[in-house]
């Protein structure tokens, strides 16, 4: 075939053939290739540039955010007074019932430098890595709710697998009733977060908050994930289809926090 073509066209056709074969090979074997190191290099190259590109956007939004945060701080301070009273009461009751006491979560602030995936982001690049104590498996969240977990940790950066990654699964419970389920992201028939495995017998209403459950091996209990936005029946008729509106705005992420996974919090490996 190449002999019938002029030299330049032959070269470009050969290149196309080569690239097509390499692409197809990568599609077949790519999942088994160790790409984490390459992504680490990519993060190292792009993260400083991402920071520069985002400066304008962040300066413009920081003024607005600052006003909003001042108002929020005041509201929270008022709420905090009531909660302190409730905490004292809760501690006394737990001691009487001999239940373990609740401990706060250590929050490590991070900057979110870039999002990957379109139109819905599936991963985010964080400004902290192993040197800053961020480990693979740590949970990532914003003040609004859970983002996902750290999937890859590089020396100075790390990558978070967001809730919207189709391979992500989070053990959750409905806050008010304790109904258990597993959160998955589905792309068909339309992109949505679903709480799966909830039996029909369990009563769940729209607007109820969904948090990480104590059954989760990767996330500490009680982190807000979202709210139930739609209640339906699975085509099998055995379980419910619960659509979840994520609490964190996954499309506009600037700052977040990393907390160690439950095993690290317990002092395990």
């Amino acid at each position: 075939m190449g002999g019938f073509l002029p030299p330049a066209e032959g070269r470009s056709s050969a290149l196309l053939g080569l690239y097509a074969v390499v692409s197809l090979l990568l599609l077949v074997t790519g999942e088994r290739l160790p790409t984490e190191a390459l992504r680490g290099v990519g993060a190292w190259v792009f993260a400083p540039l991402d920071r520069v590109v985002l400066i304008g956007d962040r300066i413009a939004s920081s003024w607005r955010e600052n006003q909003h945060l001042r108002q929020r701080v005041t509201e929270l301070e008022l709420e905090n007074v009531k909660l302190r009273d409730a905490a004292v009461e809760n501690q006394q009751l737990r001691e009487e019932l001999q239940l373990p006491l609740w401990h706060g979560l250590p929050l490590k602030p991070v900057e979110i430098l870039a999002l990957s995936g379109e139109p819905i982001p599936v991963s985010a690049l964080l400004s902290a890595g192993r040197r800053q104590g961020v480990q693979t498996g740590d949970a990532a969240l914003t003040r609004d709710g859970l983002l996902g977990r750290v999937g890859e940790s590089y020396p100075s950066y790390s990558r978070v697998v967001l809730l919207t990654d189709p391979n992500s699964a989070v053990a959750c419970e409905v806050e008010s009733t304790g109904v258990l389920g597993v959160l998955h992201f589905f792309t068909a028939p339309k992109p949505r977060l679903m709480l799966t495995g909830v039996p029909l017998a369990d009563t769940v209403r729209t607007g109820e908050r969904v948090v990480t459950s104590g059954l989760s091996l990767r996330y500490p209990r009680g982190i807000l994930v979202g709210t139930v936005s739609k209640v339906g029946k699975d085509p099998s008729g055995l379980v419910q289809d619960l659509e979840i509106e994520p609490a964190a705005r996954l499309s506009r992420l600037r700052h977040g926090f990393v907390i160690p996974g439950p095993k690290a919090l317990e002092g395990g490996p």
């Binding site: 470009s12 690239y19 599609l27 590109v53």
Partner: protein, 170 residues
Amino acid sequence: MRILGAFAWFMLVTLLLRSTALTALAARGLVFDVLAFATVVWALRWGESWGVSFGFALGLAADLDAAHWLGRHALALALIGYTVGRLSHTLVRDRARVQAVLILLATVLHQSWAACFEIGKLTGWPYVLERVALAAVVTAPVGTFLLALVRRASGQPLFTHAAVEPGPTG
């Protein structure tokens, strides 16, 4: 050497835009397919050899940025780069209508191919069609407008010398 520098620079800018401003826009429903747009522009400017190489390299970098399906963008963009590069010899490349049609077709092809990997079931096709149509409707006019802006700013045609530039192997 100059072309290699431009190659790396154009790729870097495209990937940066994709991971910052355009991701935020995409999440609001405004999908500007910067990968397809950049590949079309590069292939129109430098012909099929550079077009196919640019598409492949850009696609591979985009694939590495995601966790799954390595080679997905690389294959589609290499094909787009090659096809547009071949067509660039016969088309009037500086005509806005030609650019709009090429960007539109490239976006439709790239978005359809990329969506096939994400939507496993047939029930997802209405969403795929909506996503592809939206990306094409946004990318073609915005891309053509951007090219017109650059042409006006530079004061000369953008795509003059594709046929005389040697490819990456030549």
